[in-house]
Point group: C2
């Protein structure tokens, strides 16, 4: 009688845990390709191999599923940025950041596209999170600016530096169809990209 989605204080059953995971996995697949409005509950239900009412038994609405995915995503998405260490060696810190972001684009392309879809469409459902992001970016931008002033990094706008790292790395996830179309079956996309970006940012940012 008590529905699982309302089960605040209750323990989740084994089935609940499994099915919810199954749904989120399917929803990530669907949302990341079609965006929120472009995805249907039926599509998600089919991908999750269950009936629509069954799916809606676990998540009351389409929004709920999307919310959970976005929350999960944001939780880990910014880890590499958080990991930038003010006491680290500047060029090394930037290099690791680029590499970590590129690894995330490789390992979690659907999450990247989910986020890209959301922002492309005006970020209507992540207004709050944008504010937190602003604070975090400001903090890191100030660290970078400090490095620049100390002559340990080229004198450059730290915000645009961060944007360029996001753009170049996420590109491989968000535009992967285009990248594939152009590169064909050419060698190791990831390693080539890593090498190129390393060179670009390293030379581009040397003091």
């Amino acid at each position: 009688m008590s529905k699982p989605r309302a089960a605040e204080t209750q323990r989740r059953t084994r089935i609940q845990a499994e099915k919810e995971e199954q749904i989120l996995e399917a929803a990530l697949e669907v949302f990341s390709r079609n965006g929120f409005r472009g995805s249907t509950i039926d599509q998600i239900a089919e991908a999750a191999e269950m009936s629509k009412p069954n799916l809606l038994y676990y998540f009351r609405t389409k929004e709920t599923i999307h919310r959970v995915l976005i929350d999960r995503l944001l939780n880990t998405w910014l880890d590499p940025l958080r990991a930038i260490d003010p006491d680290g060696e500047p060029l090394g810190e930037i290099r690791s950041y680029v590499r970590r972001k590129l690894e995330m684009a490789r390992d979690y392309p659907r999450e990247s596209r989910l986020f890209a879809n959301e922002v492309l469409q005006g970020a209507p459902r992540i207004q709050e999170e944008m504010k937190d992001l602003k604070v975090l970016v400001k903090e890191k931008a100030e660290i970078i600016a400090g490095w620049s002033r100390a002559g340990k990094l080229a004198d450059c706008d730290p915000y645009h530096l961060i944007f360029s790292i996001w753009a170049t790395t996420q590109h491989y996830a968000d535009f992967d169809v285009q990248v594939r179309a152009i590169l064909g079956k050419r060698g190791d996309r990831f390693e080539d990209a890593a090498r190129y970006l390393d060179q670009l940012f390293l030379n581009g940012l040397k003091p």
Copy 2:
């Protein structure tokens, strides 16, 4: 009686020209924000300030409108890339390319997002165009590779170089909501970005 969309050999009337433009303008606005599936004819009709049946008098289907927009877009979108001159001065050519792309992101952000939406969603409607793109990129990549071999440019993967230029410039159109959220009302976004990218690519690519 003869509908304008079938008017192959007939001259377009003044009203046709005006209304079609009005619709395409509205559709660009809507599609670029919501993607194809996420946009409705009603939304476009409202933005174009006309009734849905009236809109459908000029364009038989939603697909038709989208097609026209995509065709128009691709026609000019690649101009900067085409403009790369094999006989030009290498670093200068790259710089102009970056600047032109950045100008396009500033002046035609909706077109950029229209394209981004399409590619994000797997480029289902632009398979053919992807092939042409591949050919064009290959041609230009070879020019760049030649410059590298001649020692006039850093030794780098020309494909990934092109990707990084696309990514960094289009980012300002595609993720403009995010960029705004982070930069706030800070000065001249465009000039700052231009200066930063100029530095990044110039230093990053010096031989």
